[in-house]
Amino acid sequence: MKRAAIIIFAALFAFVLIVAMLELSALPSPKVNLPAAVAANMAASGVEHPVTAVLLNFRGYDTLLEIAVLLLVLLVVLAVSPREGKAPAASHEPVLQVLARVAVPVMLLAAVYLLWAGAHRPGGAFQAGAVLGAAAVLLHLAGLLPGWNAPRLFMRAGLAGGFLVFLVVASALLANGALLHFPPEFAGALILLIEAGLTVSLGLILAGLFLFLA
């Protein structure tokens, strides 16, 4: 009975959403054309790729708060996870270990490339950080990296460092008139600085979400 009600409700909800989507696709194109506004301001953004320009410059404030969300999630995981006594890594598959030893250096290289590529093509700190995090998880699953205990000062600095760099840049730019108001001539360098910090911290945070609980 309960299950049937849930299925009927879900089907109705899906139907309503499909109708809404069809209606939206039939509407004339919206009055506010943000892609055009982004394209018109690309020259002042400091980067050449529109996604990076939106994420770090036009809507950089959203990204700042999103990094705060990721750091916050890690804090919540730390606050509820057991403190010490992590089991050592379990697997001892030699083939997997060899594969991991080969793959991880390539993944590090790919992360650095993604970070650098973000300025002019798809890429950037989120993707690079995700690759770094995946490399750490791979090492753990292959039995080469034990689960992490409660973080010491060095690790905490790594986890929060990227966010702090972003925060300091954002506040320093208040002197330029507004929060995150990049001067066009330094925007490229500052965005690269922020993204480099974020890559390291996001890699550690994403790895930590797995390894602090492992």
């Binding site: 919206p30 506010v32 404030y61 708060l65 330029n176 507004a178 929060l179």
Partner: protein
């Protein structure tokens, strides 16, 4: 161009700085940093309220210098400034309280300080936001920080309450995000100021669906009856300073957002269904008060009282009019209840700290041992009942005034009944504390509550009552609209 020490920006940056700083210092550290930070924020919030109140117009900050709709704007109007003021008037005493509360057993609160920093940053960012997607991000910060505070350091019940809260808050923000996506699809922007005239001009049925999803999601997060199921275990089970922060501030954040959307972009859509939130609010008042009257545990009593008091906030929707009376009543109720409920949880926490038990029956004989806490509890009760000269009285008076002006007699009946029911559950605790002697071995309990706990609770309670005397200033601030 704005000055470097723009309060709008620093109200968001400061808590982020001290939250990260507290995390760097390590588990259980960072209390002093947090208290200094919040004191500075209180000063900024007062500065902002004075500027908005005197200037009579909203203050803006275009982040990145782009301006909406390409960039993101921050806007502080009267309502936002009042919410920021309330947040810090509640947060500063509560953080001092938390320092005393966790002094005995710091391990329970290993990450309390950074989590509360992120919570305050999220709240401040939410009150200042003027962009639907930016609001979503701030909602996530507030929700996740609140879940972390409930679950942190916890035993199994706390983690279970935290998980239930997490599901409720994630479903709520998920519905909100779905609505934002539909609106972006229809209009190509998420800036509230740009959207409002566009929705006024024409609203596709997708926008109706979006509005319904967003408002329902936010009602779930505000724990409006019948979506209140997650609130009592989360607020009643957390440590007292956390319960106080959640009941006084976090549920108000999603209410604030409902009010903003209702008055702003969704104003053309909501005219015909305004009775619905008022009906649910009335049910919340009666149901919450009834559960508070029956509650066995002291903190559960206070948590159910929150559900009832949140109900009053939803009574204003059919009364919202050009005279602004109902909006002022709602704002006054938010502030008065925020202060009173923080005081009540703090006082209850101090009593539980001394008696060691969390049952209404166990406060027997507390009157002679902790008069300050009990006085704080009673003063907070005065505000909840709506007796003069408290802020609660002023809020209910304005609400009745607005209801009478518009001939909504049934709302007047609900408001008066709610006040009487509140008197019953408040006097239930006071009677136990004053008239019933302590039983057996409990008479000899000699240790007292730390003065810090008792006096911070008292300060909050006194503020909630004295608010009524300075109510005119607050009403003047609330009347400052966001303007064109």
């Amino acid at each position: 161009m704005t000055e470097f020490f723009d309060p709008l920006a620093w109200l968001i940056l400061l808590p982020l700085f001290w939250a990260s700083g507290a995390f760097l210092l390590g588990p259980t550290r960072g209390a002093r940093l947090a208290i200094v930070g919040v004191a500075a924020q209180l000063w900024l919030a007062i500065d902002l309220a004075v500027k908005v109140g005197d200037g009579g117009t909203a203050i803006r900050h275009a982040v990145g210098g782009w301006g909406a709709p390409l960039g993101i704007d921050l806007i502080a109007d009267g309502l936002a400034a009042a919410m920021l003021l309330l947040t810090h008037m509640v947060a500063l005493p509560l953080l001092l309280y938390a320092r005393g509360y966790f002094a005995a057993d710091a391990s329970v609160a290993r990450y309390f300080w950074p989590l509360s920093g992120f919570l305050l940053a999220g709240l401040n960012a939410l009150f200042l936001a003027a962009d639907l997607f930016n609001l979503y991000v701030t909602l996530e910060i507030v929700g996740l920080a609140a879940v972390g505070l409930v679950a942190a350091g916890g035993n199994a019940t706390q983690i279970a309450a935290g998980l239930r809260y997490l599901f409720a808050t994630l479903i709520g923000s998920g519905m909100y995000l779905l609505g934002v996506a539909l609106i972006y699809g229809a209009y190509g922007t998420v800036s509230i100021a740009t959207l409002t005239p566009l929705i006024n001009a024409s609203a596709a049925s997708a926008v109706w669906i979006a509005a319904a999803l967003m408002l329902l999601g936010l009602m779930l997060k505000t724990a409006l009856f019948p979506f209140h199921y997650w609130l009592p275990p989360a607020h009643g089970g957390a440590p007292a300073p956390v319960s106080a922060l959640l009941s006084a501030l976090v549920v108000k954040a999603s209410f604030y957002l409902i009010l903003r959307l209702w008055l702003g972009p969704f104003a053309p859509l909501t005219g015909t269904i305004a009775w619905l939130p008022a009906l649910l609010g009335s049910a919340a008042i009666l149901w919450g008060s009834w559960q508070a009257i029956r509650a066995v545990r002291l903190k559960m009593l206070v948590a159910y009282s929150t559900i009832a008091q949140l109900g009053y906030l939803f009574l204003i929707f059919p009364l919202l009019g050009p005279d602004g009376l109902a909006l002022q009543a709602g704002g006054m109720q938010v502030v008065a209840h925020g202060l009173a409920k923080a005081a009540m949880f703090a006082a209850a926490g101090a009593m539980i700290h001394v008696t060691g038990r969390d049952a209404v029956a166990d406060v027997a004989g507390v009157a002679s041992r902790m008069p300050v806490s009990l006085f704080a509890f009673a003063l907070a009760g005065v505000t909840l009942m709506g007796l003069p000269p408290s802020g609660g009285f002023l809020a209910k008076w304005l609400l009745i005034d607005a209801a009478l002006t518009q001939g909504q007699w049934w709302l007047v009946a609900v408001i008066i009944a709610g006040g009487l029911l509140a008197a019953i559950y408040v006097f239930r605790v006071l009677r136990q504390a004053f008239l019933v002697p302590a039983q057996g071995e409990r008479r000899h309990l000699s240790h007292r509550a730390p003065p810090l706990l008792e006096w911070t609770a008292f300060t909050l309670a006194a503020a909630s009552v004295l608010l009524g005397l300075r109510g005119v200033d607050l009403l003047r601030l609330l009347a400052v609209g966001s303007g064109p």
